[in-house]
């Protein structure tokens, strides 16, 4: 048991360190990127890796490494923000549902069921279409993530509602009540600490979900505009793989190696951290 715990902690430490490295690279994109991410080198279209372009160039002649670094900055900053927003909203509404009775609980429960059943993709597409046209690409991206967060509250809400109910029925809360502790004190001293690991777990597990959601939108051309670098837009380059098959993969490994690998590794890092938090 002790070995399992220490191994888990070690895995978590490694994951956190690796995540920190990824974030450091993303935050330092302005310094580390060899070229501006949107500049097209039109005589270097789809060039293989070279000294000037370590990950080659894309089909418009833009440096892939620079776009990857800038794309990470955008996606890795906004996905956790969206996850935090979803968990905070879920905690608030889940907490209210757990503590209330009658129609309030029923209404909140119905709302969360409805939100879970919503075809969020179509909703996002429709909402994107009504945004002002002169919106800055960064603002557009931030709104996309905000909407992802706003639509993602229902899952955490259910989990936190169950956590609050369980905590309120626990022996130590009963003991506190017997000692005459007030409702506020019970919430702050006994319920909230019990919910912290649950909320953290929800947060960490939602980050990769939002990263992949943005990538899905990008793959369908509905995320951010084509010229703005984000993980979703970078993954668009993999579209031909479906039609071109293994030859495309073998000939274009540097395409696959960067954004897809980064997305998978980052998602795994967040998931492994989650395991440790949950345990």
């Amino acid at each position: 048991m002790r070995h399992t715990v220490s191994l888990g902690r070690m895995v978590r430490s490694v994951c956190l360190f690796a995540l920190a490295l990824v974030y450091a690279a993303a935050l330092g994109a302005g310094v580390l990127a060899p070229h501006p991410p949107t500049i097209q080198f039109r005589e270097q279209i789809a060039a293989p890796p070279s000294a000037g372009f370590p990950l080659g160039t894309d089909e418009l002649g833009r440096d892939r490494l620079s776009r990857l670094l800038h794309g990470c900055r955008v996606s890795l900053a906004l996905a956790p923000a969206a996850a935090a927003f979803a968990v905070a909203l879920g905690a608030l509404l889940g907490g209210v549902a757990a503590l209330s009775r009658g129609w309030i609980r029923a209404a909140l429960s119905a709302s969360s069921d409805l939100t879970l059943a919503l075809p969020w993709f179509f909703l996002l597409v429709s909402l994107r279409a009504v945004l002002p046209m002169d919106l800055d690409p960064a603002a557009s991206l931030a709104i996309t993530f905000f909407l992802l967060g706003a639509l993602g509250w229902a899952g955490p809400s259910k989990v936190i509602q169950a956590g609050v109910v369980q905590a309120l029925q626990s022996d130590h809360v009963l003991a506190a009540r017997a000692r005459g502790a007030g409702f506020g004190r019970i919430l702050m001293s006994h319920v909230a600490p019990a919910l912290l690991p649950v909320a953290s777990g929800q947060f960490v597990s939602m980050v990769p979900v939002f990263l992949i959601a943005e990538a899905n939108l990008g793959l369908l051309g509905l995320g951010v505009s084509e010229s703005t670098a984000s993980l979703g837009n970078l993954l668009k380059e993999l579209e031909p793989a479906a039609a071109f098959g293994p030859a495309f993969v073998l000939n274009s490994w540097w395409l696959l190696g960067a954004p897809l690998l980064l997305l998978i590794v980052t998602a795994c890092l967040f998931c492994l951290s989650t395991k440790e938090v949950n345990s």
Binding site: Q40, R42, E59, A129, M133, G221, S225, K236, A243
Partner: protein, 540 residues
């Protein structure tokens, strides 16, 4: 033309007629036909089925682009353009065995002109010719038009002749094939029409094929994979990267036909009621501004980078593939940012540092919308973004799902500029009346005008009406040439490129003669055949 000649030289085996007919041709269509009624066909799958199954009095030959006698063995248009007299071919039978009569022609004409049917070709004909009278007398049909109708014979290409007493339009047809079955969401099977009237030069009954199977396949990647596996025989409208790949395959028959009739274009919203700032509307209404934008765009880069060389830079509104109507005096605009800036200065714009400002000091920046998921357009927009940054203009690109985009450009008019493509289905300028008349709904930059907003739009209105009623081809050409020159000068639409027509043909199919007009590969479907020796080899 050059491409057609090259293709003709490259495909001698394909042109050889079969010793024995038969076989099934397999092809994919990208959507479900909305209707089997040829008179209401308005989208590509329905139009293709209508083309393959129905007959018309006069057909525009897709290779020569000239009208040819089909169900009518001859025709004569009056000098004033108000009468068209057609003599029907004798002994032509519908697929149910009934003889074609002049009464069927009048029935079909009256049906397509009925406003209640809402038939696109009928509505256009009614708009151009006013009331149309049809008189049947023996084997002769006389059509009388309320207004003079230029090139009346070309209108006949869009009017399928139906049997007057057959009920459903698909029950009795005059085309080479009949609809045998339709499995919604899966496929249609077209069976050889045993009563088809046409014979080949050796006197053999056409079509050679027994049937055509049209698979409904929206996913183009799957379509290509199935072509490579030999499950499909033909593909049209290939994307440049797929074309390059198929061309590299040994024994592959990926063919480039040349510039298509389609165009990619951008335009600015000049509508007075559009919810955009007044100073931006003033930019968009400035000829110098539009011309400078056009001059800043590197069309050759679009061709090279986005289309991998498989496109033709656009000079004007008519593709060079439209041999009869293109104004060859309209030349391509060479990219020249310095000249563009000089042009902008004449209208009060100034480059301050890296930012272009108008005479009131507003920084010039605008948003262009295009449809999401169209990789070529998104890439073109990115190239334009960099081209315009060279003259200090900041361009934002927004990709919208198609219904939202259509809503903005047709109803709410809440957009600044749009990048979209135009399908060139009709060679004749009459087919573009609904774009160029200032009162038209498809006059995209400023639709539905009560009276022309500018003198040049008034002149275009006049020229379009003039060409539509002129009886001589030379007079029509002069008017249409002038329209092309005005459009090139005023740049209400900034034409970017004409994508080349790219197709692929299985080596088992013979008789194929790809053309730029639709349907690119099936326009001579009655003369296509399956090369039995190769088909047997492949099946082994």
């Amino acid at each position: 033309m050059k491409w057609l000649v090259l293709l003709a030289a490259a495909l001698p085996a394909m042109a050889a007629p079969p010793i024995a007919g038969g076989g099934t041709l397999n092809m994919a269509i990208q959507g479900e036909p909305r209707s089997l009624d040829p008179h209401v066909a308005a989208e590509e799958p329905s139009e293709l089925v209508a083309f393959l199954t129905h007959g018309v009095l006069i057909r525009v030959n897709r290779a020569t682009q000239q009208p040819e006698a089909e169900l009518a063995e001859s025709w004569k248009a009056s000098a004033d353009g108000r009468t068209l007299t057609l003599t029907l071919r004798k002994g032509v039978r519908f697929s149910n065995g009934a003889l074609l009569g002049a009464a069927d022609v009048c029935y079909s004409l009256n049906r397509i002109l009925d406003p209640a049917l809402d038939a696109p070709n009928g509505d256009s004909l009614r708009g151009a010719a006013g009331k149309v009278g049809c008189v049947a007398s023996g084997a002769t049909v006389t059509l009388r038009f309320e207004k003079p109708l230029a090139a009346a014979e070309r209108w006949m290409d869009g009017i399928a002749i139906l049997a007057s007493g057959s009920g459903a339009p698909e029950k009795a047809v005059l085309g080479p094939f009949t609809v045998e079955s339709w499995q919604p969401g899966s496929h249609l099977i077209l069976r050889k029409n045993p009563h088809y009237w046409r014979r080949d030069e050796a006197g053999r009954q056409l079509p050679y094929l027994d049937s055509i199977r049209l698979e409904i396949q929206r996913n183009r990647d799957i379509e290509v994979m199935r072509f490579e596996r030999g499950e499909l025989d033909l593909i049209t409208n290939l994307a440049p990267d797929i074309f390059e790949r198929l061309k590299a395959v040994k024994g592959g028959r990926a063919l480039e036909v040349g510039a298509s009739l389609d165009a990619e274009q951008l335009w600015f919203n000049q509508a007075p009621g559009a919810p955009i700032p007044e100073f931006k509307r003033a930019w968009f209404r400035s000829r110098q501004f539009r011309a400078a934008i056009s001059q800043s765009i590197r069309r050759d880069d679009m061709v090279r980078i986005v289309y991998k060389g498989h496109a033709t830079p656009a000079a004007g509104l008519v593709s060079p593939a439209n041999l009869a109507w293109v104004n060859s005096a309209v030349k391509n605009v060479p990219p020249d940012p310095k000249a563009a800036l000089a042009l902008l200065r004449t209208d009060g714009f100034q480059l301050a540092g890296q930012v272009l400002r108008d005479r009131s000091g507003n920084a010039v920046e605008f948003t262009i919308i295009t449809n999401a998921g169209n990789k070529s357009r998104e890439r073109m927009a990115s190239l334009i973004q960099q081209d315009l940054s060279a003259i200090g203009i900041k361009l934002r690109v927004v990709s919208l799902d198609f219904p939202s985009l259509i809503e903005r450009i047709t109803r709410s008019l809440d957009y600044e500029a749009c990048l979209l493509g135009l399908i060139g289905a009709d060679l004749d300028p009459n087919g573009q009346m609904n774009v160029w008349l200032s009162s038209a709904a498809n006059h995209q930059w400023n639709p539905n005008q009560k009276s022309p907003a500018t003198p040049w739009e008034a002149e275009i209105d006049q020229l379009m009406i003039q060409q539509a009623s002129a009886s001589s081809m030379a007079a029509r050409k002069r008017a249409w040439d002038r329209v092309q020159a005005i459009v090139a000068e005023q740049a209400p639409f900034i034409y970017l490129i004409h994508p080349n027509t790219l197709v692929a043909v299985s080596s088992t199919v013979g008789g194929v003669r790809p053309v730029v007009m639709r349907p690119h590969l099936l326009w001579n479907a009655e003369r296509l055949f399956i090369n039995s020796r190769q088909a047997v080899t492949q099946s082994k």
